[in-house]
């Protein structure tokens, strides 16, 4: 260790007391996994899924190659042989996703995000379409400290990516909405933290997304595009109003969008957590694991049918062991409660043509609580600088009880503003460069990261969104109310992170070859339903060259203005006039001039390089499916590492205990094959291990004896040498477990290849 290492302060030490112990341990474990991977002692796929489950994601060019406009070139990053996943260089920048349950942040958390953006990223916090924050260009070795600094203010990145329950989103108007029967925030909080790290959500074939909505009318919660969409509902029973939820399952966007189906017409609150748990168990057990393109819950629901799926969920739910958290939401209620800082006030009546008047009209929502307003801070492309985060934290402290919410339209929502403070708030936001008007209108274009940073991006969704936003803002008040209220959403590829299926005008990036050149295009999707929780998707029309999308947008709006009937929505108009007419409207915009006539068509927005799809990488969105066995064995490996470090530090008894824990963890990992729900009791584990592996001869007895012998000694060691031997044995046991697992997989594959004989049992 160098002088530098010994003398610098570490966040690990500095924040020790401020992080809850279980989160602290998780992050320490993650940091050990980094070390093991760095030393080549952890499989790269297992490490990739490990980091994804902590939100540390890949980023464009992380395979160490980049097309510079003339050719694909190797980035001269150091230590190219060290990898953080398959084909992913250790030193290549990555993205850190930070899940923010239901998008709620405190002022202090926002300040910490600002510090992290400056110290580890590019000075920008990016709000995603699922109420997360993303930091880009992050070095993998900085991620443990990022996590510690977040954990110290109550934010975890656990399960922000990977095959897990992703951020639980909720309508940002929850609790203040004029149309919602009750506040879904406590339910969202209770479910988010119940499912976080739950054993039943650790073995999915792909990601699992949950959302909450307070009502059925508006889009905010987007229940229909989620694996589990939960909508507040009330019913009258014997003269009493009961609160509950409509529950939908099996929705999702992606290349093939599915609408979620009604799973439960009315689910009482106390049934919400066990039902979600049961859905998770069914998904883990029956969901596709090998073919990731068919592994989302939507495919399982589609294959089984919603009736059979419902039956299985109910059956599963019946078998669950009661958990006190199902009914006791007191912690969630307390954590989710919000109150105003100030007394209610009078709404101002400004000149509608003034800046303040325009802002009031587009960015301010009257809460159901008299005299209070909620304000949308429109963030261009979901971006906010570190300095703006600090200024906003001050504003939040000045006008609210220090909370704000992120929205799926990549904005920030301030609630409980006394109406008489609106003018003062507007001026404060103006000073921070945060008073842009046109929030949640046609000017407020949503876009996923696209080719800026995403490995899967085909075209520049952000470049296009910035260009469209600029042009539409110039038009500004030139739009009538109907057109002004339309939404434009852009994805860089067909995977739909920009939610283009749900927009009035949606675009997603694609590539077309023209005379041997690649030309960026966007496919046009029209008439998505940005209402009723996203209850219908748009109609795909043609693919237009990226350069002509601004003109295409103008044309689409112009034709709608000309042809629309009284009160006709854009969606109704699109489906009335049909694809043929609209395609004809756009016909002249589909052409691409030859390269020597107009080379600008062959370059994407906000770029200068000749367009190529040569930088496309492999997505980590779903992660690779890493089995529970692999994960368990990786954990055992990490514990052995701990044991060695502990022994080196002189505590041989503790080192011995750790070696014992590693052995038990190894046995438990293998037992997940026959017994997915195996518990953590060592006696049970050893007993079952004998029965399932040792007695049938499926585990090398020489190594199994290490486990049996050490278990009989209750993990006690009497000398440092003894502890050292046990550590060595634990390592050998892990190796043997890997071989046993491999044998199992080969037996399984052979069984599948074997022809089925009639009458065979």
């Amino acid at each position: 260790m160098s002088d530098k290492d010994t003398k610098t302060l570490s966040w690990k030490t500095h924040l020790f007391e401020k992080i809850r112990p279980d989160w602290r341990e998780e992050i320490d474990d993650y940091e050990k996994a980094l070390l093991l991977r760095r030393e080549g002692r952890m499989d790269e796929k297992v490490f990739m899924e490990t980091r994804l489950r902590r939100g540390a994601y890949g980023q464009r060019y992380d395979n160490g190659r980049r097309h510079d406009g003339t050719a694909s070139r190797e980035l001269p990053l150091p230590e190219r042989e060290v990898r953080k996943g398959p084909d992913t260089l250790w030193h290549a920048p990555g993205m850190q996703r930070i899940k923010i349950p239901f998008g709620r942040l405190t002022a202090r958390q926002l300040e910490v995000l600002a510090d992290l953006a400056e110290e580890y990223s590019d000075g920008i916090c990016h709000v995603t379409t699922r109420q997360d924050i993303q930091l880009h260009y992050v070095h993998i070795e900085d991620t443990p400290d990022i996590m510690r600094r977040l954990a110290a203010v109550g934010v975890t990145t656990r399960e922000a990516c990977g095959n897990t329950v992703r951020n639980v989103t909720a309508c940002p108007r929850a609790g203040i909405c004029r149309d919602a029967p009750f506040d879904v925030t406590p339910a969202a909080h209770a479910l988010a933290f119940y499912l976080l790290g739950h054993p039943d959500t650790q073995n999915f074939g792909r990601k699992f997304k949950v959302s909450f909505s307070g009502c059925s009318e508006h889009a905010c919660g987007l229940a229909f595009m989620h694996d589990l969409g939960i909508v507040a509902a009330v019913r009258e029973q014997e003269g009493r109003i009961e609160e509950g939820f409509h529950v939908y399952a099996g929705g999702g966007l992606g290349p093939v969008p599915y609408q979620a189906k009604l799973l439960e017409e009315f689910l009482p609150p106390e049934e919400l957590l066990p039902t979600a748990q049961a859905v998770g168990r069914i998904f883990a057990r029956l969901g596709e694991k090998r073919d990731r393109s068919r592994a989302r819950l939507k495919f399982l629901v589609d294959r089984l049918g919603i009736d059979e799926f419902r039956r299985l969920v109910k059956e599963e739910r019946e078998g669950l062991t009661e958990d006190e958290r199902w009914k006791d939401w007191s912690g969630a209620r307390e954590a989710a409660s919000e109150e105003p800082l100030k007394a209610p006030g009078e709404f101002p009546d400004p000149d509608p043509n003034s800046d303040f008047g325009r802002w009031i009209s587009s960015n301010v929502y009257r809460q159901k609580q008299h005299g209070y307003a909620a304000v949308t801070v429109a963030l261009p492309l979901g971006d906010i600088t570190a300095r703006q985060c600090r200024l906003l934290a001050d504003i939040v402290r000045k006008y609210t009880k220090e909370t704000l919410r992120l929205t799926v339209e990549q904005n920030i929502f301030l609630r409980w503003i006394s109406a008489s403070d609106l003018e003062s708030l507007f001026h404060d936001l103006q000073s921070a460069g945060l008073a842009e008007t046109g929030a949640e209108t046609i000017e407020d274009v949503t876009a996923c990261p696209g080719t800026d940073t995403c490995k899967l991006g085909i075209a520049s969704s952000r470049g296009l969104a910035a260009e469209l936003g600029r042009r539409l803002r110039k038009r500004g008040s030139g739009f009538d109310e109907i057109i002004g209220s339309l939404r434009i959403k852009i994805s860089g590829c067909f995977n739909s992170c920009g939610q283009h299926h749900l927009a009035d005008i949606g675009y997603y990036g694609t590539n077309r070859k023209v005379s041997g050149y690649s030309v960026p295009h966007f496919r046009v999707v029209l008439g998505g339903h940005w209402k009723e929780n996203g209850s219908a998707y748009g109609l795909a029309v043609g693919a237009v060259p990226s350069r002509r999308i601004p003109e295409t947008t103008e044309r689409l709006l112009e034709k709608y203005r000309e042809r629309r009937r009284e009160g006709e929505s854009f969606r109704d108009y699109v489906f009335r006039v049909g694809k043929t007419t609209i395609t004809k409207d756009l016909e002249d915009l589909l052409t691409v001039p030859p390269h020597d006539v107009d080379p600008s068509f062959y370059v994407d927005w906000a770029d200068a390089r000749e367009f190529t799809i040569g930088d496309l990488g492999h997505g980590e969105c779903a992660g690779d499916v890493v089995s529970a066995v692999d994960f368990g064995l990786a954990e055992a490996e990490r514990i052995v590492f701990d044991a060695q470090v502990t022994l080196d530090s002189g505590d041989f008894r503790k080192a011995g205990k750790l070696a014992y824990r590693a052995m038990i963890t190894t046995a438990r990992a293998l037992l997940r094959l026959p017994l997915p729900d195996i518990g953590t009791n060592p006696d049970e584990i050893v007993r079952e291990f004998r029965s399932h592996f040792i007695e049938p001869g499926r585990f090398n007895l020489n190594f199994a004896k290490y486990l049996i012998g050490f278990h009989e000694a209750a993990g006690e060691t009497s000398t440092p040498e003894h502890a050292h031997q046990r550590i060595e044995e634990a390592q050998l046991l892990i190796e043997a477990a890997h071989r046993a697992h491999q044998d199992h997989l080969e037996r399984e594959a052979a069984a599948k290849r074997r022809p089925v004989t009639k009458g065979a049992s």
Binding site: K4, L75, E111, E118, H136, H139, L381, T385, R390, A608
Partner: protein, 200 residues
């Protein structure tokens, strides 16, 4: 010469140098994007440049930047002024002293500024004044924004400028900013109000 050996304990590689291209100058992203892609092809700035990031849609902060492995080059727009930042994120050159790391950042910042003066393809071009610049420490744990820490680090800052005699006698002081911001140090030439990069 001040000795900053005692500062070995401070992570020396996380710091930035901010130069100013003129009172009224404003960066144009449509100019910077092609220029920076070209620079990446030529390996500018030193330290493994990787990609161009554009944030020109924001009212302040980075306009367009080159993200690199060792450091980032950022054309930024702060309230009332434009600037150029070279931010050293990590070292692969073996710097063990803050002044060495600062020396690396200064050298790269001056090199990039000089290249921008020459290669910025439209008028008005940036004209940097080396007589006034800022340094900031991008590590709130090891380089906190406090008067005490400033006192500790000041000799290292002095030391880093030994290689730039053209700047003359320097007035070095802590910028009184928001305590949540990074420790920022202003460096001004006492002898000259204007120094061109060629004079360094």
């Amino acid at each position: 010469m001040p000795n900053d050996d005692t500062l070995i304990g401070i992570i020396p590689t996380k710091l930035g140098v901010r130069l100013f291209p003129g009172e009224t100058f404003e960066w144009k992203s449509e100019v910077l994007i092609p220029l920076f892609h070209e620079w990446i092809r030529r390996g500018i700035p030193e330290g493994i440049p990787i990609d161009v990031a554009d944030y020109s849609h924001l009212p302040e902060g980075p306009v367009t930047m080159i993200v690199g492995h060792e450091g980032d080059l950022i054309c930024e727009r702060q309230p009332g002024r434009s600037s150029l930042v070279y931010l050293l994120k990590r070292s692969t050159s073996g710097e063990t002293r803050t002044s060495d790391a600062l020396g690396t950042a200064l050298e790269r910042a001056f090199q990039c500024a000089a290249s921008l003066e020459k290669e910025y393809p439209v008028e008005p071009r940036p004209h940097f004044n080396a007589a006034r610049l800022e340094i900031f420490f991008n590590d709130r744990l090891n380089a906190p924004n406090t008067a005490e820490f400033y006192e500790t680090i000041e000799p290292a800052v002095q030391n880093a400028f030994v290689s730039y005699p053209g700047l003359g006698i320097l007035a070095i002081g802590r910028v009184e900013n928001d305590p949540r911001e990074r420790l920022t140090v202003s460096v001004e030439s006492v002898n000259h109000s204007q120094i061109s990069l060629d004079a360094l």
